[in-house]
Point group: C3
Chain length 151, copies 3
Amino acid sequence: MTGKAATYVEEMYIETKERYEIICITQEVERVVRASGIDDGLVLVNPMHITASCYVNDLEYGLHHDIMKWLEKVAPFYGRDGKSGEEYHHHRTGEDNGDAHLKRQLLGQQVTMPVSSGRLHLGRWEQIHYAEFDGQRRKRILIKVVGIITE
Amino acid sequence: MTGKAATYVEEMYIETKERYEIICITQEVERVVRASGIDDGLVLVNPMHITASCYVNDLEYGLHHDIMKWLEKVAPFYGRDGKSGEEYHHHRTGEDNGDAHLKRQLLGQQVTMPVSSGRLHLGRWEQIHYAEFDGQRRKRILIKVVGIITE
Amino acid sequence: MTGKAATYVEEMYIETKERYEIICITQEVERVVRASGIDDGLVLVNPMHITASCYVNDLEYGLHHDIMKWLEKVAPFYGRDGKSGEEYHHHRTGEDNGDAHLKRQLLGQQVTMPVSSGRLHLGRWEQIHYAEFDGQRRKRILIKVVGIITE
């Protein structure tokens, strides 16, 4: 398929109630895809912060719980006091979110999804999520569509 | 390099013999790249299911074994009966594949690879793989090329 | 935004002093984005080797230490002699870098970042990094820009 090359970008704001929280953003990404007017291409969904993930998985709250529990097991929160000498060096800067920087890498930083016929082109269970690991403040997610407008 | 903006997409079907299995799909992706007629751009390789990964690593069967063993260590299968209170909440839905949802995130959800001169532009050892964690049924992989046709 | 479809690619060489090392490459990616002449689109940053990662996170040396320590905990180096029967099967080929193949998947294989107004479009703390897990030899990073030149 060929057409006129086109791009479109939006920065979406999000503020979670909890420090750790998972939010489904498929509808917001779909809205941006439609607003773009782009018929076919790719959409990048990227948190603009380094203590959060954008990922694709099931919209099922039991799984959300399992994901957070698993992330905590593999990349634990230690706070600023350390525990058995395991304090993150990152906390020497005064931060207490070392775990958030690791959890983000473990879950996945970002996703690029297909756009067909002006819509997200998803499998039946694919849902786009934002996972916050250092929330309760205003964060941004960048949604960028690159593709063609058919002529 | 400039040209006519173009896109192309195929959904490829795959059904593994085993529940857990790794399959090299570089040749299938290469075939789609050629079928697209696109000379230069990017190709997205994305499983349309949330219990599988597409990733790039060595085509070496010892490594395939190591990857599966490592995934099981970090994100274990617990079945539906639970074990020492470690049952995934996701299993309360009747599913038994909680581990598959986590393994997919650990190994990596998807890859976007470069296309140059109408071919995959890979390093010497880069091979594109599909890793299945809940197989023995028909699954889809989306392969989407976005780029230019030189004039 | 519409324009002339355009692509641009460079392979960047890198050789780390240490076997394990993290290097910030934001400035190199920015240079390639500018060299591309592309006004708006996406840039793929992909190591052409399967024992390295490209990822986005904080440029903070304490965090670099924490990342490497965490990767070693979750995907340990065992060398070629094995330890308590845990030797990677990959080492039967004569390699000793099984851990590097796993660390790459854990940290993240690659990133695709947005380009706006001819520049990388990053959040305040987003920095693009190259993480090497089998260095002290010449490696390549592919940087590919796909987008539009506004008319």
